[in-house]
């Protein structure tokens, strides 16, 4: 029984904003299948009533005084922009003609 289908690979690629060629998608399906088969070992583990651990150290969220501090200079922040105008990053259109 396969754990992941080609259709699911296409769906998660869509969610992750990745385009895969047919060959890439086929290779990913094969690799993910192998990996999921390996991690299936966890299915045999009894986790009833076990609290999940998100972080190795139990830290309280650190807080700081609510004081204004110097931000990065906008020019410096934009220095790596593939395209910039004024103090903004330029991107292609986000909303289409029908306003969607």
């Amino acid at each position: 029984m396969s754990r992941i289908s080609r259709q699911e690979v296409d769906q998660i690629a869509q969610l992750a904003r990745l385009s895969l060629s047919d060959d890439e998608a086929a290779a990913m399906e094969r690799d993910l299948e192998r990996i999921l088969e390996y991690v299936a070992a966890l299915e045999t583990l009894d986790t009833e009533g076990v609290e999940p651990t998100a972080h190795a150290l139990q830290l309280a969220t650190p807080v700081r005084p609510d004081e204004a501090c110097e931000p990065m200079d906008p020019e410096l922040a934009l220095s790596n922009a593939p395209e910039a105008a004024g103090t903004a990053f330029v991107v292609p259109k986000v909303i289409d003609e029908e306003g969607r």
Binding site: I12, I35, V39, V50, A56, V91
Partner: protein, 490 residues
């Protein structure tokens, strides 16, 4: 061995030469740049900053002439893994998606090194976004093992391990998410140290899996690691997981005395199956050495360690899929040409910029976090993480330090595991637990096998780096494996 080659071989030797006045910081920088070139075939170094390094060396020499020394590492050149940002310099993470990126700021560790007078010479090769165990997924091509260039130097911090092993620099920094400092240190015969999670600031370290990532040193010896950790450790409010606790005097811990310490051998880590011949023998011999030095050795158990790799790959990829969403072609890095709308821009920029292993891990992480699979994979992995932590708590009730092999194998031939991700992942079987549990881990060279280095791993309680350094240093006082140097290039 020439004086300069010896001085670049360890922090202690470099410091001694500088203190004696037999070499200047400028001499060390010139020699390190030359050695980086002589060892170009290793592909360990991916970028140097000669002009700044020379300026910084001159400043250090001027300080010294006035009788000032900022720290034990003042005037010593070092290399950083290419995922720690330096203001005004490129950072690529071994990825095409960061081609052309120049950092507007410096990482916390870079600030600390520079305030201590250390010289940042350049950047080392790594697996793309630190995802790999062989440095083969780098966009620069694979880094090679100085002991045998047909073999891997390990990964993902392979370039840093190879550079220290080859004596290009006396020390380097790497990052360790599942073994990425310790495994290459073991493969290359150097000392590699992953401190407790939160001990060293992650500010300016490009994130792979934020709950697991930690920066640490590559050095010739544990004594050198103690000196370098003293410089880079400490609280940084810009990293919300940085621990607000004092940093002990690590050098003071190096007493050479391990009597009174108990060393635990987890029985699950000494099973022959799946381990390359020679590895367990070398590690057992190392344990006998520690016993002869006065440590008590007991057997302990980590019953859930067999779930560690599965747990690690679910948690690390889930976190990576989220962290790597920022690489979208908008604010920095590669942007695809001719995108029709914003979604097309994201998709094309990311698809062109990321390599296969990064895509594989983003997809796996996206899958395990997606509706319908979250409980089966991600939540279950987090529960397994709790069980692993309990295993460690119980083991550390019976011993002070755990000892295991660093890796189940010797440095493997390049290309051997490229088409089998699961086999590649299993290379980290002994190292991933320390990241999942957050404890410090250190790899020291023990007896070689088949002419290649073998790493012995020591794991300690959270924040007890001093104990690990003390044990590793005591071991190195009784052995000379860490002093062995690979052959020079012809």
């Amino acid at each position: 061995m020439s004086d300069i080659r010896e001085a670049l071989g360890s922090l202690a030797a470099a410091r001694a030469a500088l203190d004696a006045g037999s070499l200047s910081a400028a001499d060390l920088v010139e020699a390190a740049l030359t050695r980086a070139q002589d060892h170009a075939a290793l592909q360990a170094v991916v970028g140097v900053r000669p002009r700044h390094a020379r300026d910084e060396a001159r400043a250090s020499d001027e300080r010294r002439a006035k009788g000032e020394r900022r720290s034990l590492v003042d005037g010593i050149p070092m290399l950083l893994k290419d995922n720690m940002v330096v203001a005004g310099e490129a950072t690529t993470c071994g990825s095409r998606i960061l081609e052309g990126f120049v950092s507007p700021y410096s990482a916390g560790v870079v600030e600390r090194l520079q305030s201590a007078g250390a010289i940042v010479l350049g950047r080392t090769n790594m697996d793309e976004f630190a995802m790999g165990s062989s440095t083969e997924s780098s966009c620069f091509g694979a880094a090679r093992n100085p002991w045998d260039p047909s073999r891997t130097c390990g990964g993902s911090s392979g370039g840093s391990a190879a550079a220290v092993a080859a004596g290009i620099v006396p020390a380097a920094l790497g990052s360790d998410t599942g073994g990425s400092i310790r495994q290459p240190a073991g493969f290359c015969g150097v000392t590699g140290f992953k401190p407790t999670y939160g001990r060293v600031s992650r500010w300016g370290l490009v994130a792979y899996a934020s709950s697991l990532d930690q920066i640490g040193p590559f050095t010739r010896s544990a004594a050198d690691a103690a000196a370098l950790l003293s410089v880079i450790a400490g609280h940084d409010p810009r990293d919300s997981t940085s621990l607000p606790v004092p940093v002990p005097d690590y050098a003071a811990a190096l007493t050479g005395d391990v009597s009174g310490l108990t060393i635990g051998m987890p029985r699950e880590c000494f099973v022959e199956e799946g381990v390359e011949p020679g590895v367990l023998e070398s590690v057992r011999e190392g344990v006998r050495e520690l016993e002869a030095a006065g440590a008590k050795v007991v057997e302990v158990s980590l019953p859930h360690s067999r779930y560690a790799i599965a747990t690690y790959y679910l948690i690390a990829t889930a976190e990576a899929s989220s962290n790597l969403a920022r690489f979208d072609g908008v604010r920095y890095g590669h942007r695809a040409e001719g995108a029709t709308d914003i979604d097309d821009l994201y998709r094309r920029s990311r698809s062109e910029g990321f390599g296969a292993e990064v895509k594989r891990r983003i997809l796996l992480g996206t899958y395990v976090l997606s509706a319908g699979y979250y409980d089966a994979y991600y939540k279950r992995a987090q529960q397994a993480r709790t069980l692993l932590r309990r295993d460690f708590d119980e083991a550390f009730a019976k011993c002070d330090v755990l000892v295991t092999p660093t890796s189940p194998e010797l440095a493997f031939p390049l290309g051997e595991k490229n088409d089998d991700p699961v086999r590649m992942y299993l290379s980290d079987i002994y190292t991933v637990t320390a990241n999942l549990v957050g404890v410090p881990g250190l790899s020291v060279p023990c007896s070689p096998a088949a002419g290649m280095p073998v790493g012995l791993q020591l794991l300690g309680r959270s924040l007890e780096e001093s104990t690990l350094l003390r044990v590793a240093d005591a071991f190195q006082r009784r052995t000379d494996h860490h002093e062995k140097r690979p052959p020079e290039p012809v």
